[in-house]
């Protein structure tokens, strides 16, 4: 009973290693499922009996069953004592199976395993080479540290054995012993050295394997045998070839001159009239380097994909560019092999083709996608196709990509659209046609296609100077139908980014309103972009056109007569012009001008207060997510209704009210630090134009000391406070300086001059609308309160 329960324990422990899910499955499959443990125990008992018998056939049968259990991952360690006795068996079949068992369990039962060691030692002296090799293999596989001196001795003997097969096994045993006892490294290296000098092809592959595992840093060992390795390489077995070629690749990279060095310097050579033009890179190759390339070339014809890949790697890293096509051909051949091989090879080709286009260009057609390819292979092929795009083949590739769009694999279609985008970016001739093609995809029935096109168009417009007006308007219309978050975000981003462009005035605020309504359902990404965009576009509205656009839309939506709104907007256009020209101090002058225009008596304080609330809401959205949903709706309500409350709305945003402004209502608003400060600098003067002087700038998003209205942000009405003179700028040094510019609410560029001993440079800083904002913070109660006012 006791032993049975202990057995149960051991069984359980073996199962604890198993996957939880297979637990039941395993029981169900097992024929002994009912009284599982019990019968299992019995079975072990009869196994023991069989092992103890005198008949070899019974022993063999028992061993077969035990090994079967081991293979199924069940614990057979309890049988160790019974099995280990049979290591002395004369029957070779039984012996082999005992070896297999020992390899698996010797580590767990070290003391008992030691009993078998003497048998191995005797076997190492057998006349049969296979038995000698087998004994050494098992002996070195027994992971018991105590026996490492014995193994060391055995390896030493075996390394000078008559039979190459035994020497090969000795080479294999070296890394095993090294992992068991790293202190033996130096002794092992001398054996490796001996084995590397071996002239039999059977041995050197394994010797190099031992070398790479134990002492890859000892390059000096390779120097002596390098030429021999190259000469024998063709005759070594495939697996040895892989190891040797990989090792030699490292060797070539560290010991030979980069054969492509000349090509990189080809520009210099062109200018250098003295350069010897007859000197070809191939001619300058070291004879040993040439030997390596020559002796590995036949291996490209190997049937083993790993060998071909190893050689291709060698050629990629260490051959002159002119010889690479050889490897390309072999790699393309591998593409006709198994799917797994294809996938790995395509990965390699993708990374090579990114650096070296020409190499795979002749094989373009091999990378055309078949509908039957699995997705990961399709994607890799797409990547390679786009890598290979050149002026001459772009039309072929694009036509091919076009056919992929109607594929049923959505993931692949999305990747195809991105690939079209990449082609458009890399080949400028086709940019326009690609863009048109993508725009036509916008009317595709499949939403995923549309969404992906939107994203790619956004990316293209971001980098291309093409006129995006129509496209953006088209996309804005799509906003209602697209549900993919990323695509919605992309449209919003585009609207925000281009909102200052004249034509978009009319649509941006409308979109904004629409979006605000559904804000709560938006995805995180959409939300972020929306917030950012609302900030930007409202800023754009107010900064470039004063209150006109928001006022006119709000008028229209609040039910006023159309004529009046039109009237008003035209009036306001005048006002806007005035704004640009006359504003000295933004706050007061605008208030004046607008109040004059509208002929409405308004208190200055009132207006600035309104202004504040508005600014606050925008920034509130940005700073806190507490009342996102509400605040945005309110923001729009704010935009809509602000003029009922106070007919005049100051366009000014960002720092145009100072904390000292008297506040009548108990509003407490504080200007807060911006939560995000862009640390990326923009180039102002580049080193070449500046005769050696370069300057970059960034917006610090903090008020300037000179005046809080200068958020380091001059056309007319702009003021600037320059930085203290930098007396000396040592070479290769950079010094920071702060410049205050009051942009006066416009996105007009500030032009000024930087004077230095090298000359005067005219520079220009153009602020993005977002830089004209100032974040504030207000209590929610106040916010709700003021928003309620607006609703009414």
């Amino acid at each position: 009973m006791l032993s049975s329960s202990s057995h149960n324990m051991s069984n359980n422990s073996s199962y604890s290693n198993d996957r939880g899910s297979s637990f039941e499955a395993e029981y169900a499959v097992d024929p002994a499922s009912g009284g599982f443990f019990h019968t299992d125990f019995k079975k072990h008992d009869d196994l023991k009996e069989m092992l103890d018998s005198n008949k070899d056939s019974l022993k063999l049968e028992a061993m077969k069953r035990i090994i079967g259990m081991v293979a199924k991952g069940r614990d057979a360690s309890i049988l160790f004592p019974a099995v280990v006795k049979n290591v002395v068996s004369k029957n070779i079949e039984v012996k082999k199976l005992v070896y297999v068992y020992l390899e698996r369990y010797a580590e767990e039962q070290q003391d008992l395993a030691l009993l078998s060691i003497s048998t191995f030692q005797r076997a190492l002296k057998e006349p049969n080479q296979l038995i000698r090799a087998g004994a050494l293999r098992v002996l070195s596989s027994v992971r018991v540290k105590m026996i490492s001196p014995i193994v060391m001795l055995a390896i030493k003997d075996a390394s000078s054995d008559m039979s190459p097969y035994v020497r090969k096994t000795a080479a294999h045993a070296i890394p095993k012993l090294y992992s068991l006892d790293p202190e033996l490294k130096y002794e092992l290296i001398t054996i490796i050295q001996k084995l590397l000098a071996d002239k039999t092809v059977l041995v050197i592959g394994s010797a190099v394997m031992a070398f790479t595992e134990v002492c890859p840093e000892r390059v000096d060992l390779i120097h002596q045998v390098y030429r021999k390795l190259c000469a024998l390489l063709v005759d070594v077995d495939e697996w040895g070839q892989v190891t040797i070629v990989n090792m030699l690749t490292r060797y070539a990279r560290s010991q030979f001159v980069n054969p492509n060095l000349h090509e990189d310097d080809s520009d210099r050579e062109f200018y250098d009239s003295n350069s010897d033009t007859s000197e070809k890179p191939a001619a300058s190759l070291d004879p040993d380097h040439r030997l390596l390339l020559r002796s590995t070339r036949p291996l490209l014809q190997s049937r083993n994909a790993a060998v071909v890949m190893a050689v291709a790697q060698l050629y990629h890293h260490a051959s002159p560019k002119s010889e690479n096509p050889l490897a390309a051909k072999a790699l393309v051949r591998l593409l006709r092999s198994h799917i797994e091989v294809q996938s790995v090879v395509l990965n390699a080709i993708a990374s090579i083709s990114a650096k070296n286009k020409g190499m795979f260009e002749p094989y373009l057609k091999s990378f055309f996608v078949r509908t039957s390819d699995p997705t990961n292979i399709k994607l890799l092929k797409l990547e390679i196709l786009t890598n290979l795009t050149t002026d001459s083949n772009v039309s072929v590739i694009l036509r091919e990509l076009q056919t992929y769009i109607s594929n049923s694999d959505k993931y692949f279609v999305a990747a195809t659209i991105q690939a079209i985008g990449r082609c458009a970016c890399s080949i400028s001739e086709v940019t326009d046609s690609c863009l048109n093609g993508l725009v036509s995809l916008l009317s595709n029935r499949d939403e995923a296609v549309v969404a992906e096109s939107v994203i790619v168009i956004k990316r293209l417009l971001q980098t291309q100077a093409a006129d995006p007006k129509e496209i953006i308007t088209h996309m804005a219309r799509l906003l209602d139908s697209i549900t993919v978050a990323q695509a919605r975000a992309a449209i919003l981003w585009l609207l925000g980014e281009h909102s200052q462009k004249v034509i978009l005035y009319c649509i941006a605020p409308d979109i904004l309103r629409k979006m605000a309504k559904t804000f709560s359902e938006e995805d995180k990404k959409g939300k972020d972009v929306f917030l950012w965009e609302s900030e930007a576009s409202s800023a754009a509205d107010s900064s470039s056109s004063g209150s006109s656009s928001s006022e006119s839309t709000s008028e229209a939506s609040s039910g006023s007569e159309e004529e009046s709104s039109e009237e008003e907007s035209s009036e306001e256009e005048e006002c806007e012009k005035k704004d640009y020209s006359s504003c000295e101090d933004s706050e007061s002058s605008f208030d004046e001008s607008s109040s004059e225009d509208n002929n409405t008596p308004v208190k200055k304080i009132n207006s600035s207060q309104q202004d504040k609330t508005k600014v606050e809401k925008v920034s509130n959205n940005i700073n806190s997510n507490v009342d996102n949903k509400k605040s945005n709706l309110d923001l729009l309500l704010d935009l809509c209704d602000i003029n009922n409350e106070a007919p005049v709305m100051t366009p000014s945003l960002g720092g145009f009210f100072t904390p000292s402004t008297p506040i009548e209502t108990p509003l407490t608003m504080q200007i807060v630090q911006s939560t995000f400060i862009n640390t990326k600098s923009v180039e102002l003067i580049n080193r070449i134009n500046g005769k050696g002087l370069s300057a970059t700038y960034r917006f610090t998003r903090s008020p300037h000391l000179y005046s809080p209205s200068m958020t380091n942000n001059l056309a007319i009405g702009m003021s600037i406070h320059d930085f203290a003179c930098i007396s000396k700028l040592p070479p290769n040094c950079s010094l920071p300086a702060t410049l205050g510019i009051d942009f006066n609410d416009t996105t007009q560029p500030a032009n000024f001059e930087i004077v230095s001993s090298l000359g005067n440079f005219n520079v220009c800083i153009k602020p993005k609308v977002g830089e004209l904002l100032r974040p504030v913070k207000m209590p929610t109660s106040l916010f709700i309160e003021s928003s309620l006012d607006f609703v009414e």
Binding site: L130, R370, D446
Partner: protein, 352 residues
């Protein structure tokens, strides 16, 4: 190097495991099974897990997952797994400390004797001198060699210029190929692939078969499909084993077709229409036609099925490659020689 190997059946159970270095819990296979659940059979062959790399291949529903601990050329493992023979004991002889030891099946048979009856049969067959060669055109020359002793064979071609890119069995002497375009080799016993090759693009290979296809959409939910297959330049040989596999788009619900030859079936799950034609009869071209129903509301402009075509032509090598002669040196007896040319469609796809 290869640390452990797990063999997993189609139900996702590990039915065989083997460890060459330390024992790794089979729970490591969960990463693989998870990937399999997520992507079906479309699994990346290399999966990186926190401590191991799993390199896997799938053959006939069985997955072979090799576990590696360190950086290793993935093709090394994949290539090895492809050669793994399904007996457990063999694995032991094939790998030593995770490093492949012997993979040539003929050598392995020497190491591990097949059961007695088989052995005697094998011996009798080997005793006869017989050589049959099958040539799987467009791709490779497969040999079936049953010769005793150590014959040294030389195979020459009438038109070796055709070869563009070749890969050899290790027994082929590369130097003689380079110099004389002769295949000189001492063959291992049994079946093996002597050479696979690619025909240079200059020599145009005429595709011996054509498919005329037409898919016209009548109304929103009905379409007419009409496919005709015909032979083209087959030099009087019959095209056999013709099979068409039409990959229909997702929106196709069903196909009701009539074929004048062969059998067809449509799998509504995988959306594949199989049409097994068999031999092409010159007098009456195989044709299949009928109506296809399309799910309502789907975009009919996007229906573009592709067709995979399979066929074989015996006694003809479309590439035009011809074996000139095969000579044997080193042994005294006279072998039986024979060449069998066969053309098989590789991956031949037609887009509609």
């Amino acid at each position: 190097m290869i640390h452990s190997l797990f063999i997993i059946n189609s139900q996702g159970d590990v039915f065989l495991e083997k460890h060459w270095r330390s024992v790794i819990s089979r729970s490591v296979c969960d990463y693989y099974l998870e990937a399999q659940r997520a992507n079906g059979n479309d699994i990346n062959p290399v999966i990186a897990t926190p401590h191991h790399y799993l390199i896997s291949i799938q053959r006939g529903g069985v997955s072979f997952v090799a576990v590696c601990m360190e950086e290793i050329p993935p093709l090394f493992v994949i290539e090895f797994l492809h050669r793994v023979v399904d007996t457990f004991q063999l694995l032991d002889e094939m790998l030593d400390n995770g490093f492949p030891l012997a993979t040539e099946s003929n050598i392995l048979k020497e190491l591990i004797k097949p059961p007695n009856i088989l052995r005697t049969i094998a011996n009798t067959v080997t005793g006869k001198t017989k050589l049959v060669k099958g040539i799987d055109m467009l791709d490779s020359i497969d040999c079936c060699i049953k010769l005793s002793g150590m014959p040294d064979l030389t195979l020459s071609f009438i038109n070796p210029r055709l070869f563009d890119d070749v890969s050899f069995h290790p027994c082929v002497r590369f130097k003689r190929w380079e110099a004389e375009r002769l295949l000189s080799f001492i063959p291992p016993d049994g079946n093996f692939r002597l050479i696979s090759y690619h025909i240079s693009s200059q020599s145009v290979v005429a595709i011996p078969i054509y498919v005329r296809h037409n898919l016209s959409i009548k109304t929103g939910e009905q379409a007419r499909l009409d496919l005709t297959v015909g032979p083209k330049q087959t030099l009087g040989r019959t095209v056999e084993g013709v099979k068409l596999e039409v990959l229909m788009p997702k929106c196709i619900l069903n196909c009701v077709l009539t074929a004048n030859q062969g059998k067809y079936n449509f799998d509504p799950v995988s959306k594949i229409l199989h049409w097994d034609i068999g031999k092409i009869d010159f007098t009456k071209l195989p044709n299949i036609r009928g109506s296809v129903s399309i799910a309502s509301g789907s975009n009919t402009a996007e229906i573009n099925p592709s067709i995979n075509v399979h066929f074989t032509i015996s006694q003809l090598a479309v590439s035009g490659l011809k074996v000139n002669r095969l000579d044997m040196y080193g042994e005294k007896y006279k072998p039986f020689k024979g060449v069998k040319y066969i053309t098989k469609a590789g991956r031949f796809q037609i887009r509609m």
